[in-house]
């Protein structure tokens, strides 16, 4: 299975310029007036998680199946730091990110040399090992998880105890995470990733040590997945084995695929879709997994590139059909 992101818009090719950031901020600012803030915060956490996974999946072109380790591992570490060590909100998030970064580096170091299916299986195997390590480690409290985690202040003075102030804090962290992803994609390194994904052999012949680039994007993705996991602890005040399980790795890939792998906003749309379905299905007798599975199959059949991917290539077709030029004749 190979996921190809649509060609990266290097600067001069960015087509429809939407002022994403102002629109996003405006939407996020008014959203809690319309929707339940805790649900919104969950969406932001998983949206960030899916967008981080998309860095590896869509932009790195590698199917990684172990990102729950970074998400859930960071959640455990942050929960422990809040509860037992009295960390503040900022430093608690940072230690979670640091954990995910180091774990990501180690997992990447072992897995990155394998290709395709073997890479996916290696990440899965390593994340299962991590799962059992977390299960055994006394500080995670096995099946109970770390519960009733306090919500510390940010910078000692800004209280996050009520849902609205927490919401705006989560929005800011989410936006910072998304900006980081935007920067990585639209950077010289992002261009290198595109080149490697498009033609690895040619990249090698131009002096690109491709595994180093893959490792870098893997580590960045792991760190941002960790940020999402730590943020989730702040919101739900709990860290459990679910967060480090392989189902979590699978679910986030599903979100990314649904929304559109290799698109900037796709994973967030995908996360919103999956979480909304889960939310509505939770009160019915229909098993959620069956419904999401069906939605997935329908989506893959109807929109092969995911929702955002389809919209994107529609816009692209519009643009291409508007072209005229001598090169067309030459295409034969």
């Amino acid at each position: 299975m190979v996921f190809k992101a649509r060609s990266l818009s290097l600067p001069e090719r960015s087509r429809f310029k939407v002022p994403l950031l102002p629109i996003g901020i405006a939407l996020l600012a008014v959203a809690p007036l319309l929707l339940y803030p805790v649900f919104l915060m969950k969406l932001l956490c998983f949206g960030l998680f899916a967008a981080a996974v998309n860095l590896v999946l869509g932009y790195g072109g590698m199917v990684a199946f172990g990102h729950a380790t970074f998400f859930g591992g960071a959640a455990y570490v942050t929960a422990h730091a809040f509860k037992e060590w009295g960390f503040g909100a900022g430093s608690g998030l940072m230690i979670g990110v640091a954990f995910a970064l180091v774990t990501g580096f180690l997992m990447g170091l072992i897995a990155i040399r394998r290709q395709g299916f073997y890479f996916a299986m290696t990440t899965l195997a390593l994340s299962q090992m991590a799962y059992f390590a977390f299960f055994q480690a006394p500080f995670t409290h096995a099946e109970d998880g770390i519960q009733r985690v306090p919500r510390p202040n940010f910078l000692g003075v800004i209280s996050l105890s009520d849902n609205m102030s927490l919401y705006y804090f989560v929005v800011i962290v989410f936006l910072l995470g998304m900006l980081a992803i935007w920067r990585v994609i639209h950077s010289p390194f992002g261009a290198s990733l595109t080149a490697i994904r498009e033609n690895e052999t040619r990249a090698l012949s131009l002096g690109y040590q491709v595994n180093r680039y893959k490792l870098t994007v893997f580590v960045i993705s792991a760190a941002l997945s960790g940020l999402a996991g730590s943020l989730k602890v702040l919101v739900f005040q709990i860290a459990t084995l679910t967060d480090v399980s392989w189902q979590m790795s699978g679910e986030v890939i599903l979100m990314t695929l649904l929304g559109g792998v290799g698109t900037f906003l796709g994973p967030i749309i995908g996360a919103a879709l999956v979480l909304t379905i889960q939310n509505y299905m939770a009160s019915t007798a229909v098993p959620v997994t069956i419904f999401i599975g069906a939605a997935f199959i329908i989506c893959v059949m109807l929109f092969r590139k995911g929702i955002v991917g389809e919209i994107d290539s529609f816009m692209r077709r519009e643009r291409v059909s508007g072209w005229s030029g001598e090169e067309k004749v030459e295409l034969q």
């Binding site: 600067p11 639209h186 290198s192 002096g207």
Partner: protein, 250 residues
């Protein structure tokens, strides 16, 4: 004149099949060195061995006297031994200019900067433009690579390879598949870039070989059959035999 690239007793087996067998090749600095031989002779495989895309079954390879047998292809490229491919190898989803910029940013060592905006790539625009101009592609700089003809992809590949400013340039059938009208431009380009670097090229067009190359190595069934100037090679009966046997005109 010193030897810049050397293969010593290099062999490559695919399964039990000897694609390249005990090849010794010494490329002199500043030369244009042709590698000729019938299809399946092992020329592309030898290129793969020299640039470390294939690992040798036995033997060793030296670049400027340094043993590079254990190095990876990217390291070798960074040391100045760069290749183009027989089947055009480009980044189809990028524009022609971005194809060149991707090579330039690697050469300048900025390809790992994930913290800078891609705007900074514009510092390579002038150089990219010059390179595209060399191969006559300036007017198509903004086109997606997947939208241009095969011959132009080949020309682009030469431009991206040159972007690395290689000391030794390995070209695998550079003019195959090009529009006939573009061939003289590329031949002249090879001649001019060879002024300050070494070129090894696989080429079937023997009049091109005659006009360009200082030295010719003939590879047949994975082995070196003959080596010398074009004239020496042309008059070698064994070479004529091998070529006529394979249906070529000499």
């Amino acid at each position: 004149m010193s030897i810049v690239l050397e293969a010593r007793q290099v062999s490559k087996n695919f399964g039990g099949f000897h694609a390249v067998r005990n090849v010794n090749l010494r490329v002199q600095e500043g030369n244009i060195h042709a590698l000729i031989g019938p299809n399946g002779a092992g020329k592309t495989t030898l290129f793969g061995l020299l640039t470390r895309f294939h690992s040798a079954s036995s033997g060793s390879i030296f670049l400027k006297g340094e043993d590079i047998t254990a190095k990876g292809p990217a390291e070798v490229a960074l040391r100045g031994l760069c290749r183009s491919f027989q089947i055009s190898s480009i980044f189809p989803g990028l524009t022609l200019r971005d194809n060149v910029r991707v090579a330039l940013q690697r050469r300048y060592g900025s390809s790992h900067q994930f913290w800078l905006p891609s705007r900074v790539l514009s510092r390579f625009d002038d150089e990219a433009e010059q390179l595209l101009d060399l191969v006559g592609l300036t007017s198509l700089a903004q086109r997606l690579c997947s939208e241009v003809s095969y011959g132009r992809k080949r020309a682009l590949e030469i431009a991206t390879t040159l972007a690395m400013q290689p000391k030794v340039l390995l070209l695998d059938e550079p003019i195959a598949g090009m529009a006939a009208g573009d061939v003289p431009m590329i031949v002249e380009l090879i001649r001019s870039v060879a002024k300050d670097r070494t070129v090894v090229m696989v080429e079937h067009n023997l009049s091109v070989v005659e006009s360009l190359c200082d030295k010719v190595t003939v590879l047949v069934r994975g082995e070196v059959m003959a080596e010398g100037t074009y004239r020496e090679i042309r008059d070698n009966p064994a070479v004529r035999e091998a070529y006529i046997g394979a249906g070529y005109e000499v």
